[in-house]
């Protein structure tokens, strides 16, 4: 322990002159250094992960192996909390080595390797997203992107050792201020540095100090606000636990500049370790003569005390904090007078946040000009953030002001966990706001964030993925601020209560239609009229989510739906909520686990008649939302479904449904949307006729998806089961050519569901894009999937990055193989891999088969050779520019980067659109040509006509089409009978169903990975690539389900 012992040959304590301090410092820095230092994080986070035992084990090993050659040092937080316990190896003349997840069992190997030049322990090495091992600290992206000023010593020194602080230039700034600068010089330096309050307000620190310095009254006080009450913030804790002297030195300098003689650190009681370390540090500094009377013999005196908070968020507000320090209820009072004029005990008082104080010494020591080289002109310096939420890398980080949110989230934070997508970032806690993907390239500084509806706040950054509900989050913060409202002023006391009630109604699915307006009005009133910062900012989480995520509020209010599955009253389980078809996933998964696949199938068929199809080609949003993904990996729901459907296929009943209704319904389009609609209508008792333009039913399932992903017999079987309900099927009839919507009503149909898909290929849009040898991807797929022979060349280029592009490329490879050609298929995509709309597994399977992928490349023209035949595709390189509203970055071609990709066939997979000629003047269309419908019912602008699937969405997924078909069927039933018959019955059945928890066989097991055909065998035909699970594997996988539906 550091203590205040006097190092050998150093002056007596307390130190009473500059020379005495310098002699002390020389003695400290002159001590021999050990060859190897093991730095062990001793911060709350790593301690919780078991750092104390690691420290002891390392000390034992080190003593046994190396004697004095190695020092095991307890240090403050290096920041990378999610990887704790963290140990860093410092070897003389070598870059530091970062070790993560260290346990006591590693002590032996770690000490052994630490003593070996260049030695690392492979088990403890950090590896990046691509699996590259990065042992050196200066290679780990989490650290390389940081600039540390306030955290300069955190993770480097023993925070309980003042000598370690002094050896790293600690208290040198104080010496400089006391002996070389007048108080006014110090004020000037802080003013010119442009430092702004790091507690969240961003008020210029220099101006605040100047105001206080001008006050004639004595005594004056300086206060450090360490009442870090924002949930999700731990910057102050990190600094106090890791480098308490940095704060003390800053306060000493401030007190000198402003003429204060006493100081208080007001720290929340929830931080016992921070308080203990601060007290130790104050004791040491006092013993050295750096604190207390007559500091270093200059006549300047400053006493510092620690006051523990007692658990009240409002005490972060400065006037409430003062009341609390004075031993009263922590309630704010109106300002002015400002504390600089009348604060603690009615005397001039300056209150700054922990991080602000920690910035003072470097500014004085290195000068304001240096400080201004960091950050932006309006917000100089750095900012400490606590990164938390659904990120790969979480912890404490310090970056220059002005970095983008993208740098913070994806650069430092390493991106999202569990394969989910970024949804929003919450900044500034209960006073702050949420920003979505469109704001990722916003520079992080006080003014930019404010403009976007968020605030810098104290630095809490919570990153959210798709599993977070923005309405629930607003409710969460309101519940917090409402319970922490001190009750003094009416707008805050009553307003937050009323706001919370509205939010609770919304999340409970009991909202009234005008609740959103009422909420917004109330929020603005509370913000405008509350007495202190708590009430003035409490509405921010509500207002910012209303601004950026209004659609989600509307879904809760009008559709009674929470897309994230977080609002319990609106969700049976997150997976069920994520499913566009609303399948009761936990129930059928549990039934599979229990060995009851037939009952599981029955549950599935309530909502979705295509379990075998979806078990193979669904993009399974259920798995993305699966809470098991937060533990290890999501349940392989699609694979479980496929097993269930395949094993029961032969037994699936196919009796005709009983017709109980007089009204005939027409379904136009026999794809997944149309067939699902027909299925539900038939089961509701309606006679249904399906009109299909092609020769056979199935739509994109048949003509778009190749058999190697969806075998034809599986598809036939499930289509047949639907038709067998008693549908009338009329194939070869095309809307607009063979019949019209008016005609259908004339024929006596009472309602029509339109699901004609989006099959019109967008042309490539470059010179010569109609030449022979250029073909739309869908034409290629359609012909190949029909079994027709298609001539593809020796070198095929597919343009596009979606599922259709992947399917076309893989089909082309197989066609080349069938024609005895060597496989040569290149996919050209204008964005990067991360932006590809195709699913990750589709891309992976394509690459395994030999498809070449070229990114950031856009075609400019098709080059024609002899006889007008394609000889190549001229392309430009592309860079990604600013972010578009959809969160993707706009591709920008680089002039002069023209190059030619040689080929003889070009396949255009650049998008599909609805054939608008079908509906011109009949139905309202959006500018992009899709049919406008009521989101909840699928009703079009024409009475009795409903629509769904790709015709409404543009190219979308199978399960969304199935969901649309189901929704329209329910709406049509209600339209024709005036009652929600089948919809209400299914909803009730689903709500009441409670499949008991099965014996958790293999619940701790890893996620099942279905086997795949060897890539070399795949190209020999169109055989299915991915195999199903066997019974044992499927049941074990199903048993991994956490059963969120039973929870609570």
């Amino acid at each position: 322990m550091g203590g205040a012992r006097s190092p050998g040959g150093s002056p007596p304590l307390p130190l009473r002159s500059r020379e005495a301090f310098e002699a002390y410092r020389a003695a400290v820095t002159g001590r021999p250094r050990p060859r190897v230092v093991l730095r062990v994080c001793g911060d709350t986070g790593c301690l919780a992960a078991g750092a104390e035992a690691v420290l002891e084990a390392l000390r034992r090993e080190a003593a046994a192996l190396a004697g004095d050659g190695i020092e095991v040092r307890r240090v403050g937080c290096p920041g990378f909390c999610s990887r704790g316990p963290v140990v860093i190896i410092d070897r003389e003349g070598e870059p530091p080595v970062f070790c993560q997840g260290v346990e006591p069992v590693h002590a032996d190997a770690l000490v052994g390797q630490a003593l070996t030049p260049g030695g690392v322990v492979p088990d403890l090495v950090f590896s990046d997203e691509e699996g590259r091992a990065l042992p050196r600290l200066d290679e780990v992206p989490f650290f390389t992107r940081q600039t540390r000023v306030a955290l300069r010593d955190c993770g480097l020194i023993d925070p309980t050792d003042i000598d370690a602080f002094i050896a790293r230039d600690g208290y040198l700034a104080l010496v400089k201020a006391l002996f070389e600068m007048s108080p006014d010089d110090v004020l000037d330096a802080v003013e010119r540095s442009g430092l702004r309050g790091r507690g969240g307000g961003g008020f210029p620190t220099g101006a605040k100090w100047r105001l206080m310095a001008a006050q004639p009254q004595r005594p004056k006080y300086v206060v450090c606000n360490a009442d870090e009450g924002d949930p999700g913030a731990f910057m102050d804790r990190g600094i106090l636990e890791g480098d308490p002297h940095a704060v003390i030195e800053g306060m000493l300098i401030g007190a000198y500049a402003m003429g204060a003689s006493e100081g208080v650190v007001y720290c929340r009681a929830e931080y016992p370790l921070a308080i203990a370390r601060l007290r130790t540090a104050i004791g040491q500094a006092t013993a050295l003569g750096l604190l207390g009377d007559d500091v270093l013999g200059t006549g300047f005196s400053f006493g510092l005390r620690v006051k523990e908070g007692a658990g009240a968020f409002v005490c972060g507000e400065e006037t409430a904090l003062i009341a609390s320090v004075e031993g009263r209820r922590g309630m704010p009072r109106p300002r002015p007078p400002y504390p600089a004029v009348s604060g603690l005990r009615g005397k001039p008082t300056t209150i700054n946040n922990v991080e602000t104080w920690a910035n003072v010494a470097p500014i004085v020591l290195r000068g304001p000009e240096w400080f201004r080289t960091l950050g932006t002109p309006g917000s100089p310096g750095t900012k400490v953030f606590s990164l938390a939420g659904k990120l790969r890398n979480t912890g404490l980080v310090e970056v220059p002001m002005g970095v983008t949110l993208r740098d913070l989230v994806f650069g430092v934070g390493g991106g999202m966990t569990a394969g989910r997508r970024f949804k929003a970032v919450q900044m500034g806690g209960p006073s702050g706001g949420c920003l979505g993907p469109a704001h990722l390239d916003l520079p992080v500084d006080y003014d930019s964030l404010k403009g976007a509806g968020a605030i810098m706040g104290s630095g809490g950054v919570i990153v959210l993925d798709e599993t977070a509900c923005m309405v629930d989050l607003a409710r969460f913060f309101l519940r917090f601020t409402q319970s922490e409202s001190c009750g003094k002023c009416v707008p805050c006391r009553l307003g937050t209560k009323r706001m919370l009630e509205i939010l609770e109604r919304i999340t409970a699915g009991e909202a009234e239609p005008d609740d959103l307006d009422r909420l917004e009005r109330l929020a603005r009133t509370v913000a405008r009229t509350s007495l202190c910062g708590l009430g003035q900012t409490a509405p921010n989480p509500v207002l910012s989510t209303l601004r950026h995520f209004r659609r989600e509020y509307e879904e809760h209010v009008f559709d009674r739906r929470c897309r994230a599955g977080a609002c319990r009253a609106l969700a049976k389980a997150p997976c069920t909520n994520a499913c566009p078809a609303g399948v009761d996933t936990p129930s059928y998964v549990a039934l599979v686990a229990a060995g009851r696949p037939d009952e599981a199938l029955a549950v599935h068929l309530e909502r979705n008649p295509f379990p075998s199809v979806c078990g193979r080609v669904c993009h399974h949003p259920c798995e993305v939302m699966c809470r098991r993904g937060d533990l290890d990996a999501p349940v392989a729901i699609a694979a479980v479904k496929r097993f269930m459907a395949d094993v029961t296929a032969a037994r699936r009943a196919s009796a005709p449904a009983r017709v109980t209704r007089p009204q005939q319904v027409a379904v136009v389009g026999g794809g997944p949307a149309g067939l699902t609609c027909a299925y539900h209508l038939a089961l509701a008792g309606f006679p249904v006729t399906v009109f299909e333009a092609e020769a056979a039913l199935g739509g994109m399932l048949r003509y778009g998806i190749p058999p190697f992903r969806l075998p034809r017999d599986v598809l036939e079987r499930e289509i047949e089961a639907v038709v067998d309900l008693g549908l009338t099927v009329r194939t070869g009839l095309r809307l607009g050519r063979d019949f019209t919507l008016d005609g259908l009503f004339g024929e006596g149909f009472a309602a029509v569901f339109v699901a004609v898909g989006a099959e019109r290929a967008a042309p490539l849009g470059v010179e010569n894009d109609a030449a022979p040898g250029v073909m739309p991807a869908l034409d290629l797929l359609r012909a190949a999937n029909r079994g027709e022979s298609v001539a593809v060349g020796r070198r095929v280029v597919v343009v596009g990055g979606g599922s259709v592009a992947m399917d076309a490329a893989r089909t082309a490879l197989r066609l080349q193989a069938a024609a005895g050609k060597a496989g040569d298929v290149t996919v050209v995509y204008r964005r990067s891999r991360a932006e590809m709309p195709a699913h990750e597994w589709e891309v992976r399977e394509a690459e395994e088969e030999g498809v070449r992928l070229v990114f950031l490349t856009a075609p400019t023209r098709v080059l024609l050779g002899e006889g007008g035949r394609v000889r190549g595709l001229e392309c430009l390189r592309v860079e990604l520019g600013e972010v578009q509203p959809d969160g993707r970055r706009r591709p920008r071609p680089l002039p002069g980067s023209e190059h030619v990709v040689e080929c003889d066939t070009v396949v255009a997979a650049t998008g599909l659109a609805v054939d608008t000629r079908l509906f011109d003047g009949v139905l309202d269309l959006d500018p992009d040509g899709t049919v406008v419908v009521d989101q909840r019912t699928g009703a079009t602008s024409r009475r009795g006509v409903f629509a769904g699937g790709d015709a409404v969405r543009g190219p979308a997924t199978v399960v969304e089409a199935i969901g649309d078909g189901q929704r329209a069927a329910f709406a049509i039933e209600e339209y024709l009978t005036g009652r929600a018959g089948r919809a209400a019955e299914l909803a009730a059945r689903q709500r009441l169903r409670r499949v008991p928890r099965a014996e958790a066989v293999g619940a701790g097991a890893a996620r099942a990975v279905p086997s795949c055909l060897d890539p070399r065998q795949r190209l020999a035909g169109f055989a299915e690539v991915v195999a199903g699970l066997d019974e044992g594997a499927a049941r074990a996988e199903a048993a991994r389900c956490l059963r969120c539906d039973l929870d609570g």
Binding site: G42, T44, G45, L47, A48, A49, G50, E52, A53, C81, S82, G84, T160, E228, G229, D230, P231, G232, A233, F234, R237, A269, E270, P272, L273, A276, K307, E308, G309, A310, G311, A312, F313, E326, G327, R328, R329, S386, L387, A388, G389, K390, T394, G395, Q426, G429, I462, L464, T467, A468, L473, F476, F477, E484, S485, G487, R627, D630, D1047, G1048
Partner: protein, 193 residues
């Protein structure tokens, strides 16, 4: 508002009737200006008594020379103070933002199920007191809970029974201290137990 005391609590009344007030006098005497250090005074007193029964509050008021209403006002304002007996083992479940988005609510529900009490309550045998806390500042390890100051990281509902079992409720033990873990020894081998 921070937690209010439960009224009409017979256990509290019974315990309060026999309180020895000498410690209150000693503690208050240790302060130069107890009135302006009232929050700290009450923290010390609660450390000693485990909670703040009415006779203790009145004695603080008398010794500090302030009206009892002011002492009572402070004692009921801050979440840290309790005017009813609290459990020997303090279970705190973090409901901060990071914990919330990583399933903190499910952990809390599991603790409630296991102990049969709601936040702010104490089990009838006074073995466990349950509190929620707005943030423990261990957001990187969310969701977290603490038992007697020991931090348990990356919790899930399934682990709750095992975590609670780490402290065997024994009636002989004195009132739990509110001072947090002593010095540097926090956490110990907590974590992934």
């Amino acid at each position: 508002m921070p937690r209010r005391p439960r009224s009409g609590d017979e256990a509290a009344a019974a315990a309060a009737a026999t309180v020895d007030l000498t410690a209150v006098r000693e503690i208050v005497a240790g302060f130069e200006e107890p009135a302006s250090d009232l929050v700290t005074v009450l923290q010390r007193v609660q450390d000693r008594y485990g909670y703040l029964p009415a006779p203790v509050l009145e004695e603080v008021a008398r010794c500090a020379g302030v009206p009892p209403s002011r002492v009572y006002g402070v004692a009921t304002f801050y979440a840290q103070f309790s005017t009813v007996p609290t459990g020997r083992h303090k279970v705190r479940v973090c409901q901060g933002t990071a914990c919330h988005v990583r399933g903190g609510e499910e952990v809390l529900r599991a603790v409630q199920r296991e102990l049969g009490i709601a936040p702010g309550e104490t089990t009838p045998d006074l073995a466990f007191g349950l509190e929620t806390v707005a943030c423990l500042g261990a957001c990187s390890l969310a969701p977290v809970m603490t038992v007697d100051g020991r931090v348990f990281a990356r919790m899930n509902a399934g682990r709750v029974p095992a975590v609670l079992a780490t402290v065997a409720p024994s009636p002989g033990q004195g009132q739990g201290s509110d001072a947090g873990p002593p010095g540097e020894g926090q956490g110990g081998e907590g974590g992934e137990g």
